[in-house]
């Protein structure tokens, strides 16, 4: 008797339709395109920064590795740019933080008046910085500017505002504060209004002094918002261009020659692609390092705040 063994053939798995198989790739495609869109110009700039490359002198183009970066380190103009950019960023961010926090505290209660004022205070933020600069240029005109007239009432005559090296930084910082303080204010106000109320109610019941509540409860709980707002403004201030260029084109002398202003002039007016790209890469490195510091702080603070909660 013979037996027949039937070996079952494995059932062929039904083919999955094409679309579900491609879907993960399709979903990540926009991110890939954006990534390429960012990385291609970045690496192109990095490539140019390694070359002596002036468009007006195409025959002199040469690859110099890090020669331009080394030249920068010994160039006093570069260090002046680092110093001016740091002073500008520290002054604007510091003052805007203080003012923004102060205004946010004043507007913390949800009243009709506070709501109207907080919306009105956002108006400067809706003005293009270059337009704001032109407005301030008129207001600070020593001949007919309303601000020149106002300071003259206080005995300060012939104040030269942005046209004197000694007061140029003060003037552009003032414009920056006018434009961007509302940004700080709105972020911090949102933070303040979202804080849990229990600690404040407990402090009130215990009769805790106002300054103690501010320094020991409000500020620590608000810290992640402060760090976030400061990070945004710091990055923006380091890369400032429009206000300064519209008001002084980086002058008088080199007194306001910020990174972006120098890089812009290098490329668009002097057609010096190599030095412009090198400056932008240095600026990127600085802002990247700063961002890292801030983000680490922010993560620590968030952890602490959540832990405390």
């Amino acid at each position: 008797m013979s037996t027949t063994v039937i070996i079952p053939t494995p059932a062929k798995a039904p083919a999955r339709p094409l679309l579900p198989r491609l879907l993960p790739y399709l979903l990540s495609l926009p991110a890939l395109i954006v990534c390429i869109g960012i990385l291609v110009p970045f690496f192109t700039a990095a490539w140019y920064s390694l070359q002596r490359y002036n468009l007006a002198m195409p025959l002199n183009r040469e690859f110099v590795w890090f020669g331009q970066y080394l030249d920068m380190l010994t160039d006093p103009d570069f260090w002046a740019t680092v110093r001016v950019s740091a002073v500008y960023a520290a002054s604007t961010v510091g003052l805007e933080l203080l003012l923004g926090l102060g205004i946010a505290l004043l507007l913390r209660e949800r009243t009709r008046f506070n709501n109207i004022v907080s919306v009105a205070l956002l108006l400067p933020l809706m003005t293009a910085p270059a337009i704001a600069s032109l407005m301030w240029k008129l207001m600070t005109n020593p001949n007919f500017g309303v601000l020149s007239w106002l300071v003259a009432l206080f005995g300060v005559h012939d104040f030269r505002w942005a046209s004197a090296p000694s007061s140029a930084m003060f003037t552009v910082v003032l414009v920056d504060i006018w434009v961007y303080t509302p940004f700080m204010m709105v972020l911090l106000l949102a933070g303040l209004r979202s804080l849990p109320q229990q600690p404040f109610e407990a402090a009130r019941l215990d009769g805790v002094a106002g300054h103690f509540v501010f320094f020991r409860i409000t500020l620590p709980m608000l810290a992640p918002y402060i760090v976030t707002a400061t990070l945004f403004r710091m990055l923006d201030s380091m890369q400032q261009f429009d206000i300064v260029y519209a008001m002084t084109q980086g002058g008088p002398g080199d007194s306001l020659m910020l990174f972006q202003v120098r890089a812009y002039l290098d490329f668009f007016q002097y057609t010096n692609v190599g030095t412009s790209a090198a400056l932008m890469i240095v600026l990127w490195a600085l802002t990247y390092a700063l961002s890292n510091v801030f983000i680490k702080q922010w993560l620590k603070l968030r952890e602490r705040t959540h832990g405390a909660a």
Binding site: N54, L55, A56, M57, P58, N60, K137, T140, N141, P142, N143, F144, D158, R160, W161, A162, S163, A164, P165, S166, M247, T248, Q249, G250, G251, P252, G253, D254, L265, D266, F268, Q269, Y270, T271, N272
Partner: protein, 479 residues
């Protein structure tokens, strides 16, 4: 009646009858002179078409990049005539001057084919030309199949033709041997004095004739005019601060920006004579200039004069021209005078700004582009611009000789023609052409700002400037 009117217009353009005769005969046909403008333009178009195949590129569309300027406005107003003449279509983008040259640089450096023709200054061609972005017009000008016999290139003022041509060799003479005609002059600016006649009359002042008188008159205005300051000059941190009055006066003392030795450029801003001139200029601004001089571009200089905030300006003559009209408070109160800073000089040495037309090397229809350029810089359009629009100053000698144009200017702009006639013979670009023009000249302006702000002395400032300039020239391999 229409044919008769056309014949009259043709006869007028051919010079067979004069303007008065044309007006009389048109009146006989029941037409006003003003309404005959269309006839004249149409007749001019027919006359142009007679000697050259203007229809060769019929149906072609070209794109032009324009800076917002009265010259561009005149061009746009007359475009229909070009399109009728050639059957071509012209589209254009127009940008304000603040961003205009950024747009040009971006378009050319990216080798974009978008624009065929664009407005430029002569200095810009020192970058664009050597970079390979511009068409050399020499080949077109010499080719009778591409350039109409009536174009008359020699009619364009010789200094302007030379100033828009350069070999690309740093320090080589403009218009010298081997020069490429990178651009075609279209309109230009002389740098002279424009002053407020009312203020001058009130203070019993005469237009200053040299630097010493200029400083004295400016100081007198600042002291006694009851508000206006004495002299408006540019002061922003830009090469444009150096090129108008400053370089015109500087050149009048025989001073140069660079010297050339053994094929190498060397800064010449710190010679004793240059330092002496800088001291005068700085003193003049400190004593009688605008308080916020360091932010002054041509715009503030001009509007202050038009608003009666300054007594005079040493800047582009056309700036004074435009401030004498429109809605300006001092409209009709301005006058013009030639100016030679150096009492020992034989006449003014005005450095010129030349609005020119250039063609992108990346254009795909260069012949059509050239057709447009030769029309725009040709006699007929420039006559139209000078007579009916605000193309002051025209680049063609024949237009300057035109009675109608001269009559219009003489009537409303006292002294304007005189300043032109006295200045034109030696008006040209006094800068040394070299590829680092914009950075080195901007640095010169920044140094001037430091001197005016008393951050450095003139001697120290110019020595530092010369050192920095020489270092950069050396790094670039041209010094």
């Amino acid at each position: 009646m229409h044919e008769k009117a056309q014949d009259l217009a043709t006869a007028f353009l051919a010079g067979r009858i004069g303007r008065r005769e044309l007006a009389r005969r048109l009146a006989g046909l029941g037409l006003a002179l003003g309404s005959a403008e269309t006839l004249l333009n149409a007749a001019a178009t027919r006359a142009l078409a007679a000697d050259f195949d203007w229809k060769k590129h019929q149906g072609t569309q070209i794109k032009v990049l324009l800076n917002k300027h009265p010259y561009a406005d005149a061009l746009i107003a007359d475009l229909a005539n070009f399109e009728t003449l050639t059957g071509m279509e012209v589209t254009y983008d127009i940008f304000p001057e603040d961003v205009y040259f950024d747009k040009v640089t971006a378009a050319l450096s990216s080798h974009a084919t978008q624009y065929d023709v664009f407005m430029t200054g002569a200095y810009q061609t020192w970058q664009y030309g050597p970079a390979g972005w511009l068409v050399d017009f020499n080949e077109y000008l010499k080719d009778p199949t591409k350039t109409a016999a009536t174009y008359n290139w020699d009619d364009i003022l010789p200094n302007l033709r030379a100033s828009t041509a350069w070999s690309g060799k740093p320090g080589a003479e403009l218009g010298g041997p081997g020069a490429h005609q990178w651009a075609v002059p279209w309109g230009f600016e002389l740098n002279n004095l424009s002053y407020n006649q009312t203020i001058f009359d009130k203070l019993k002042l005469s237009p200053p004739r040299n630097m010493e008188e200029l400083m004295a008159v400016a100081a007198k205005i600042t002291k006694d005019a009851g508000g206006p300051y004495g002299i408006g000059v540019r002061g922003s941190r830009s090469w444009a601060t150096i090129h108008p009055g400053f370089l015109s006066a500087y050149s009048n003392y025989g001073q140069r920006d660079f010297t050339m030795a053994n094929g190498r450029l060397r800064a010449a801003m710190n010679t004793p004579e240059s330092k002496a001139f800088h001291k005068l200029w700085v003193q003049m601004i400190q004593e009688s200039g605008p308080k916020n001089w360091a932010t002054y571009t041509w715009y503030q200089v001009g509007t202050d004069l038009g608003a009666g905030a300054s007594g005079m300006i040493y800047d582009a003559d056309i700036l004074g021209y435009f401030m004498n009209g429109g809605d300006n408070r001092e409209r009709g109160h301005l006058a013009y005078a030639p100016f030679a800073a150096n009492p020992a000089a034989k006449g003014p040495t005005s450095n010129v700004w030349i609005w020119s037309l250039a063609m992108s090397n990346f254009s795909r229809q260069k012949d059509a582009g050239w057709t447009f350029i030769q029309w725009a810089s040709g006699t007929d359009h420039l006559f139209y611009g000078a007579r009916k629009s605000d193309v002051v100053n025209p680049v063609r000698n024949s237009v300057w000789q035109d009675a109608e144009f001269k009559e219009r200017i003489a009537k409303s702009y006292p002294g304007y023609l005189n300043q032109y006639e006295k200045t034109a013979p030696d008006a040209k670009i006094y800068f040394t052409p070299q590829p680092l023009f914009f950075n080195l000249t901007t640095e010169w302006a920044a140094s001037l700002q430091r001197m005016v702000a008393r951050e450095v002395s003139v001697d120290e400032g110019l020595d530092k400037l010369a050192d920095s300039v020489n270092r950069q020239l050396h790094q670039a391999g041209i010094g």
